[in-house]
Amino acid sequence: MSNERVVLCGGLPGSGKKTLHLRLGRNRDNINLRITDITDKMAANMPPMLVDLLEVATYVYCADQATTRGGGGARNYGANWRRHFQFHIPVREPKLWSSKPVLAILRDTLGFLSDDEYEFTFKKLTDPPPVSQYLEFGSGGATGFKAEEVILVSGGIDSLGGAVQEAVVEKRKVALVSHRSSPKIAKRQKDLLEDLNKHCATQPFHVPVWVNKEKALGREYTQRTRSFLYAALATVVARIFDLWRIRFYENGVVSINLPISPQVVGSRATRTTHPQVLNGFAQLFSTLFQKEFAVENPFLWKTKAQVVQSIRDAGCGELIKHSVSCTHVWEMTTLKTHCGACSQCIDRRFGILSAGCSDQEDPAEMYDVDLLRGARQPGESRTILESYVRTAKRVKDMSEAAFFSEFGEVHRVTQHLKGMTVDQAASGILDMYKRHASQVCDVIAKGIQDSAKDISDGRVPASCLLILALPEEYKRPTTYETTPPSPVLVLEEIRDGETNQNLPARIVGSGRFNGVNKKIGSRQLFFICQLFGSTRTHYVDGEHMTVVTEEEAVQELLKWSKAGYLQFSGADQDKPAYRVQKMWGEFVRQIEKEKKLKNIFTDDHKDNKGNKLYGLRLQPNEKQILVPNIPALFQKPPS
């Protein structure tokens, strides 16, 4: 592995090109950890192992950010994406940390979480600093507060939903642990939680945590290990309150995070709260404590829209606009708090619109790019949105077999859901993804409905989602001046073997095709579908044609074969092009029996790349014979 790093922590000596020195302290060291509002008294009995956990997690998080993953290239199949870390960390309890189970769980859980390889060597920490060096008593320190639950709050919608559920709906005493990664985020979190307090019978106890590091240590922004730091921080707080459980709140689609594009391999789709990761954290903490410790995600079976709806149902809809989901923090302004382009913004806005939030609850003007009507420039913005929606459209109509045989990542989840069989877990995941896909598609459908006039007038950008999502059928120009007749002959009515039954149909294209009665079978239907449905044109020596290439015909033939409309015989399956050529000859012989259709079909041409073309000759006033949908070509004559 080329991307190796030796991480020497806590002042351990050593040097080398691949060596990274990390030292955690208050002022003179390169990492600074501050836990606010936990008093010396509250932390008085904190076991040394907990302080070790805090330090180990901080070192892992900082090494992750200090080591680049080599950009977004595809060189050597992502060799630079995956790194190999050798950590050397002095701890208070080296025997415990060096035990085989702890080492194995650390390696496996972090390895899955961040897609890196880990080795740990723990040494005895001499002269350990007191835990108080990390504590900072702030203005809100709640002496005597007894938390019933500890939850992680990032300031996004899902964690807000969790805080609302616990503190407002269930009226529980909760400790909210948040990581303050930047001053901008810190202010937003503070304001959000102050507003939340107004809805709570008992004010939550807020524990903000700061991790600052030298600028030189910020080389990689992906931060795949941050949930380990969050979990460690929350666990320390939980133990201070003598609790044996912490809770992340994240909607299930993001938690499982199936890839929306084939380029998204491994942890390029974050596994921050993946069930396998949360189980790994629970296992690690349980092993360290020698007592069962739980790490849960109560929103695992909810979509974002359902989370948003639960906030509204609790009467806290007004808080939504103060939550921040966007990862492009550096682009955030007072007015535009969301870029509207990153995956989190897209997911958020779909959830918001699906839940029917008003503009007061989540103002559209907060987003730099509007989800439905905003122009999407080529690049990440368009790729994420297009991939997200294409996946949702596909999942919506997928069979269960297709879902589990196209999303291989799902098999990394099904075995890690406690209290369920694998089949029950799989069924639940499928249901949730289908629900999410329908919610996404419904938002788009409503957007098209609401913007119908602007679309009709051409007043929305060609690259906006409303235009991208319009089915292809409606983008083809048509020679119809009026609404085409209702389809009365559908593909299912013709199957291979029925070729000689000669189902009567009427080709109702336009002009000279209008009213052509023709008895057709599957082979004629195949070429009529191909040619009348094509958008490809060919113009040579004064002849204008609508054409398909032989390759396109072959691809279509394979689809028809798969669907059972046409069956291959003998060696044709291996030579589908030859089958197309044979069928074309028969098609022309049959179709030209109809007087009006004589000499208008041709296979005499090739395109400029040498591809053989099958074509339909057009008259000078006909640019292209195109219809909005294939079944509309056919109409049975009245009996």
Partner: protein
């Protein structure tokens, strides 16, 4: 939370040619062949990938385990952590877990290895589902019967072909998906999201056609190698090497007008 990292394509002459072909409405075979050529010698280096070789080896062993009377023990010997009565989906999940566990021990995970692992899980699900006629609630006997059927020469051919078709599709779209969305626009090359999806379907069909060659030799290799001392990881790696070489040639051939 929920971040997705996207990638880019190298700005080399070969990749620019691939993009030109797409914009120029070239056929799927041409685009596929050019992609294969532009991508690090088109799978040749891939044959050395340890995760890919291990995945293929495990794919050969699961049908053989299904031949034994104690199917569950056979699976566990291969590293699949299953319950006493695993369903189809449980076995597929355990297969994925076994590859993960192997790579945690040995290291060497790559994107290609990930693609192979996913393609294998998807293949077992798709073909297993066809045999069991159901996805949920399958019994262990159903699963054993299904996987045992893959241990014949003919059925292993189908298994291998399905796997390599899925792997090849994943491989090509791993690169192409970095750019294709950029061409989706009301006035772009793909005028809609559906059009992009159609392109992917055509690519899928092309991969299935191109992997016919795998079906032709893999069944014979499986039976012969198993008979002659068993299929080792090294022999599986050799099979992968030949399969990928043939595939590359097939893609180049398929692109010719």
């Amino acid at each position: 939370m929920g971040h997705i990292r996207l990638g880019t394509l190298p700005r080399t002459r070969k990749w620019i040619e691939v993009l030109d072909l797409i914009v120029g409405s070239a056929g799927t075979p041409e685009v596929a062949a050019a992609t294969m050529e532009a991508s690090q010698g088109g799978l040749i280096e891939a044959a050395k990938d340890p995760a890919l070789a291990h995945t293929v080896w495990l794919l050969t062993q699961v049908p053989l385990a299904a031949r034994s009377e104690d199917f569950v023990s056979g699976l566990r010997k291969l590293g699949l952590e299953v319950s006493n009565s695993p369903s189809l989906l449980e076995v597929v999940g355990a297969f994925t877990g076994a590859v993960d566990a192997h790579l945690r021990r040995s290291g060497g995970r790559t994107d290609l290895g990930e693609m192979a692992q996913l393609a294998a899980a998807e293949t077992l699900t798709a073909l297993g589902r066809l045999q069991t006629e159901s996805l949920f609630g399958t019994t262990t006997a159903d699963v054993q019967r299904a996987f045992k059927s893959f241990s014949t020469t003919k059925q292993f051919s189908s298994l291998a072909r399905e796997f390599f078709a899925r792997l090849t599709k994943r491989y090509l779209t791993y690169f192409l998906s970095r750019k294709l969305s950029n061409y989706v626009s009301g006035d772009g090359h793909f005028t809609s999201i559906d059009k992009h999806a159609e392109f992917n379907e055509a690519l899928d069909l092309h991969c299935r056609q191109a992997t016919r060659i795998i079906g032709e030799f893999s069944g014979g290799w499986f039976s012969k190698t198993n008979f002659e001392g068993g299929i080792t990881q090294d022999k599986a790696a050799g099979f992968v090497h030949i399969a990928l070489k043939k595939l590359r040639e097939e893609f180049a051939r398929g692109a010719r007008p």
